[in-house]
Amino acid sequence: MKSDTNLADSTPIPSISPSSNYLITNGLGNTKRSKRIATWMLFIVIIVVCSIYIDVTPYQLFVGLPEMGVLLKEMFPPDWSYLPTIWAPMLQTIKIAVAGTILGAIPAIPAALFSANNITPNKWLSLPIRTLLNLVRTVPDLLFAAIFVAVFGIGPFAGMLALLFFSFGIIAKLTYESLEAIDPGPLEAMTAVGANRIQIIVFGVIPQALPAFISYLLYTFEINIRAATVLGFVGAGGIGLLLNQSLGLFRYDRAATIIILTLAVVLIIDYTSTSIRRKLL
């Protein structure tokens, strides 16, 4: 293998004999590997301890599965005669969800930009905003609902506010995380042409992050449509209340009707939004 030695000679790298090189690098690979194994072990231990703590019984799940079938069977056939009753509440729910999502998404944009480490390296700005986001996301929607009802009285407005805060927290968090994952190349290019921060955002960040943002917006909207339980708590009517009533009266066939209508709404929104997105981007 004359050529091989020739090649090795020509390299500017100091020639370590191949075998020792192999050992060194392989050793490096091993420590990484054992670290990874340790992480996995720790993870498994945590899962096992947790399972024991709350008394997980897979066997019970297995023998209990047919019981679930009993209930699912009761959902069919759906009670179509219930459809006229649920139209208006569904519409109401959509309205609340639209307003809550959009009003939550608008402040979420600056919040996300200020929280992303690669866009706002200033810790003194990002930390308080992240903390605020944490707080907003933490407060259970029930509590939001209770507070807003206390201040604004029962009705859709209080429900919308509860959704607004929730949407704000979720969209901002997801967006800033995907902002942190964007390709830094275009940002560099914009930095290099002397763009200021806002220009970097407009030209380097937004084109990259827009699809994710829209996707999170729709995702939140969908959650909001289904978060109707909260709306029930604030007397905003909505589809969640009817769902609870159906369950309370054990009318699973009506619950099925509600689920199917919700599914239809969600699918229609999904479809229109993807076609809009395709046109926009």
Binding site: V149, G153, I154, L241, Q245, F250
Partner: protein, 308 residues
């Protein structure tokens, strides 16, 4: 038409009259013999203080029955009825309507005991020291309201609870109907979740009347101390039976007796009585009589919630 079996803890079920349900046809000696007991508690709506605590009762019952007892709490009765019917729960503290549904609709539970609470003084809304096994619903209006009778409610805005709530909808609505006001068409109904929220809505003038348990104003009084001065009871309904203690329908008769005895024994012990009162606001238990629940069925039917 449901002439369900009366299960009486004090004198075992020989006195059963017309036995229509399948489950009760079983001989008393057979049936399910528990090795451990799964108990779930669902509060009825007339509680002003509640604790989501289970351990004390687990201990009290366990001591009495000598088998392991596991107690859980749930704010929603649907799950308990479903769990009873799939035999995942052996004993349920069920609100009246939930008991009727579980018993009539699912054949999942039989009545064992009924809880007693202190009565409420109609005038002051404060508790008396009389132990009763029923409570009432009421329709509240603002003190200065010009609504004086039930018929005045025509065309007004009423805040109901869920349509499944005995005190918040079924009883008052049925009596409204009796008085000639159709609760579905003659009034403007608004569903409000929570008796407290309903009273707040009344105070804020968002609704003209609300249906509540007696006397839900005590809950609101923590925030609005003069709630009693601001409001007036327009109407009290017929008594609603208190929470039940029900057992799964295939429970062995001997064990039914044992369990009933155990609960009664707990309330007779001062320490036990205190615990049960603190957690569930129960002050005693009496043998349950399914006949007491006839009004629940009747009223439900009156508002179009016929239980098949």
């Amino acid at each position: 038409g449901n002439n369900a079996k009366t299960t009486n803890a004090a004198e075992p079920a020989k006195g059963s009259t017309t036995q229509t349900t399948e489950t009760s046809a079983k001989p008393a000696e057979t049936g399910y013999i528990p090795k451990e007991l799964e108990v779930q508690f669902v509060p009825s709506q007339n509680a002003e203080t509640l604790e989501a605590k289970t351990k004390p009762l687990e201990k009290l019952l366990g001591d009495q029955l000598n088998i392991p007892v596991h107690v859980s709490v749930s704010p929603d009765y649907n799950t308990i009825v479903e769990a009873l019917s799939s035999k995942q729960v052996d004993i349920g503290f069920l609100p009246p309507s939930a008991y009727v549904l579980a018993h009539d609709l699912r054949n999942a539970a039989d009545l064992l005991l009924q809880a007693q609470r202190f009565g409420v003084n109609d005038e002051t809304g404060q508790p008396t020291d009389e132990k009763v096994n029923f409570y009432k619903a009421m329709i509240l209006v603002k003190k200065d309201s010009d609504i004086k009778t039930l018929t005045d409610l025509k065309g007004k805005k009423i805040g109901w609870q869920d349509v499944t709530s005995s005190a918040g909808y079924v009883f008052p609505a049925a009596e409204l109907k009796k008085a000639g006001v159709d609760p579905e068409t003659d009034v403007q109904g608004v569903t409000i979740k929570g008796h407290d929220a309903a009273i707040m809505a009344l105070l804020n003038g968002q609704v003209d009347a609300v249906a509540n348990f007696q006397d839900a104003r005590n809950v609101v009084a923590k925030d609005v101390p003069d709630v009693f001065e601001q409001t007036r009871v327009l109407h009290f309904t017929a008594p609603i039976p208190n929470d039940t203690i029900s057992v799964r329908s295939d429970m062995n008769q001997e064990w039914r007796d044992k369990i009933a005895q155990a609960f009664i024994a707990i309330t007779e012990d001062p320490e036990g009585a205190q615990i049960v009162k603190d957690i569930y606001t129960h002050v005693g238990y009496v043998a349950g009589d399914d006949a007491n629940f006839a009004p629940v069925r009747e009223y439900a039917e009156a508002v179009g919630q016929k239980i098949k």
